[in-house]
């Protein structure tokens, strides 16, 4: 075995991201460069990487790079697109936010890019240890970002909670890898698969498999590993809360899919049981607690917990339909959830962020554009046609029914009804309630409006033209 030959063109998206953060770091050294330039470099770099990913998805490039450590295929490209879209949107909504809060910006964007790179490694890692390192790269960057506003007490608290709980979950994840290493004698995903075909299931493998679920379950906030999410979302800077709710969740599911449908496919009957139970628990607990929230960030946090449950419904189907619909759902979810957080940022007053749902009273007339954006995002999250959220839920539920998980879909449908209750409550507050006090709402920053407009167009477009978005997801599952 020699030093691997590297096909650089196969690593285009990753390399572009690396180059981008190097440029950001260098630019950050010059005091004369305006800080918003850093954001634009980030956006342009991510956009180039996004373009490369789209092209590679289109072309159907397949490669096993670095001695099979990295698997470049449509699946990883599909997830790269999710990550990069999230990164671009989050950067867009961060610019004004950071300017207002007057913070150091260079590190912020570098960390966002590093987290994105970690996610990309998770999606393309073909070796458990690469997945672990990708996960850690992502997590470490996010711990810092969550606690980035150290002058704000809750931000530090969010960072600390995320870090302590995240590191704890990483310990289990690592132990799971060790057990699988012992059980299968390798950590390479294709080799584990072939080993398992030969050998039977052992306590070592089963335990290892479950500990991996714990690791991913923590990152994607499944009940009972979800409790960090509301606290961290509330305390973290709002764009970062949006980021944490989008990219890492998709990355967790990407790695989960690759490992569980790739390496652990022959254990499918074993893990589906837990996936189904976790799906039901996650949806129900997330939605039920969300109804009792009065802070919009916390509400969105619990709602994002519930959404992870919907994705699991797709995974429970564990066939091509189920997986592709879950992938599409993740894409849709990331876009609309970032949109919802962006609307929260937009709803700020001169005094600061406006997080009480009660403060949204009367927005429908006072700030019609903002209220419209918020309404569209919430309707999409609630799954009303013709928005993207409806399409996503529809495909997921259908595939689960086809796979015979009827009762799970019944639970999911009841949960959708519960979720409509708390999403619509915000809409009703905006349009039907009189404000208790006159709030001096901040002017619209044009970038934020632009980002929201992009998201809105995306949400409606996916809702109206779903098959254009489902088709890439379907062909991206071909490796299974």
């Amino acid at each position: 075995m020699t030093v691997p030959v590297i096909n650089w063109h196969m690593l285009m998206p990753e390399l572009v991201i690396v180059l981008t953060f190097v440029i950001v770091m260098v630019f950050d050294l010059f005091k004369s460069i305006r800080k918003s330039v850093l954001a634009w470099v980030t956006i342009v770099g991510s956009a180039i990487a996004l373009w490369a990913s789209v092209e590679m998805l289109h072309a159907g490039v397949i490669g096993n790079e670095f001695n099979g450590m990295l698997r470049v295929d449509r699946f990883s490209m599909f997830f790269n697109i999710i990550f990069l879209v999230s990164t671009i949107l989050v950067t867009l909504i961060s610019i004004n936010y950071l300017d207002r809060n007057d913070k150091r910006q260079g590190e912020y964007y570098v960390l966002i890019l590093l987290a994105t790179l970690g996610m990309m490694l998770m999606a393309s890692g073909n070796e458990l240890i690469v997945v672990f390192l990708g996960l850690e790269l992502m997590s470490l960057s996010l711990y810092v970002l969550a606690g980035y506003f150290r002058s704000i007490q809750v931000s530090s608290e969010a960072g600390m909670k995320y870090l302590l709980l995240g590191a704890f979950a990483s310990g289990f994840f690592l132990y799971g890898i060790a057990l699988i290493y012992g059980g299968a004698g390798t950590t390479s995903i294709p080799e584990i698969a072939s080993e398992l075909e030969a050998g039977g299931k052992s306590p070592l493998m089963l335990a290892g498999m479950f500990l991996l679920i714990v690791g991913f379950g923590f990152k994607v906030a499944l009940v009972p590993f979800h409790q960090w999410a509301p606290d961290v979302y509330e305390g973290a800077p709002t764009p970062i809360a949006a980021f944490i709710s989008a990219g890492p969740k998709a990355a967790g599911f990407a790695a989960f899919l690759r490992i569980f449908t790739g390496a652990l496919e022959s254990l499918q009957p074993e893990w589906i049981v837990v996936v189904v139970i976790l799906a039901a628990l996650t949806m129900t607990v997330g939605n039920v607690i969300a109804t009792a929230q009065s802070n919009i960030k916390r509400m969105l946090a619990y709602s994002s917990v519930a959404h992870a449950g919907y994705v699991l419904v797709g995974l429970a189907a564990a066939n091509k339909d189920g997986i592709s619909s879950a992938m599409l759902y993740l894409f849709i979810y990331c876009v609309m959830n970032i949109g919802a957080f962006a609307a929260v940022i937009l709803a700020r007053t001169e005094d600061g962020e406006n997080l009480r749902i009660a403060d949204y009273a009367g927005l429908g007339f006072r700030k019609p554009l903002l209220a419209l954006f918020m309404t569209i995002m919430l309707l999409s999250l609630a799954g009303f046609p013709p928005t993207a959220g409806f399409v996503g839920k529809f495909y997921v539920f259908r595939s689960a029914v086809d796979a015979g998980h009827t009762w799970l879909v019944v639970v999911a449908a009841i949960n959708t009804a519960i979720s409509a209750f708390y999403y619509l409550r915000v809409v009703v507050t905006m349009y039907m309630k009189e404000p208790e006090e006159e709030l001096d709402f901040h002017a619209y920053p044009s970038l934020l409006v632009f980002a929201l407009l992009l998201v809105t167009i995306g949400v409606v477009l996916i809702g109206v033209l779903p098959s254009y978005f489902l088709a890439p997801a379907q062909i991206s599952t071909q490796f299974f």
Binding site: G118, L137, V144, Y148, G185, G199, K201, P203
Partner: protein
């Protein structure tokens, strides 16, 4: 060879005692020192397992660097005193210990059943071979070893074959038993720095690069978190 059980018990016991002491001491400084003890004991276990390089890194990185950082922060925040550092009392503590015991039972159960249908068991089966000439499987395995460690056939013939066979044998003329010993011998060598390095920079090049990014992320993260505020923010 027979020293292993004794050494295992000694180091294992030390590691466990150290670990329990970490959570037992009220003073965080003592805890930190107990943790260093555990790390040293674990380094001993690594040596016992033939992982010399890892043992060295364990001492240097963990005991040397990481723990110093811990101690430094404890001193910096002046947490050396006992104040507010008591473990949780009463029910919480009891519940935690009950949970711990159940969890430990599950862990031990996994460990006891390690040989049920796993790859590890397969390796053991393969190693019990009868007489006769070297088998195809063994030749294949040696081929893999060559690839992994970047050894040439000549090197094996000159360096390792004499260690397991008396006469001027070559690899191909070994008996199955001798070949098995040969494989084990080479694998014993693998803990050496040179071997680890070879694997690290060939097969695991990508993860290695990623660790550099992780360190970069940590570096930037720490700078972002503790860098002095901009002057205008002080007001």
């Amino acid at each position: 060879m027979d020293a292993e059980p004794i050494l295992f018990i000694v180091f294992g016991a030390l590691a466990l005692i150290g670990a329990v002491a970490v959570i037992g001491f009220k003073n965080p400084v003592y805890s930190a020192i107990a943790l260093i003890g555990t790390f040293f004991a674990q380094a001993g276990l690594f040596v016992l397992l033939g992982a010399h390089f890892v043992a060295a890194v364990q001492v240097i990185v963990y005991a040397g660097a990481i723990m110093v950082l811990f101690l430094f922060v404890i001193m910096l925040l002046n947490l050396g005193s006992v104040r507010a550092d008591q473990p949780k009392a009463g029910i919480a503590k009891g519940a935690a210990i009950v949970l711990g015991i159940i969890f430990a039972l599950e862990g031990v159960y996994i460990a006891v059943n390690v040989s049920k249908g796993t790859a590890v068991a397969q390796v053991k089966q393969e190693s019990t071979v009868g007489g006769g000439a070297i088998t195809e499987a063994q030749l294949e395995e040696i081929g893999e070893i060559e690839a992994t460690y970047q050894l040439t056939r000549d090197e094996i013939n000159t360096e390792y074959v004499p260690q397991v066979a008396t006469a001027d044998k070559t690899l191909e003329s070994l008996t199955a038993v001798e070949a098995q010993t040969l494989i084990q011998t080479i694998q014993q060598e693998m803990g050496k720095t040179e071997r680890i390095g070879t694997v690290l920079f060939s097969k695991f090049l990508l993860p290695f690069e990623v660790t550099s990014l992780i360190l970069l992320a940590a570096l930037i993260g720490v700078i972002a978190l503790v860098k002095r505020e901009e002057p205008k923010e002080v007001s």
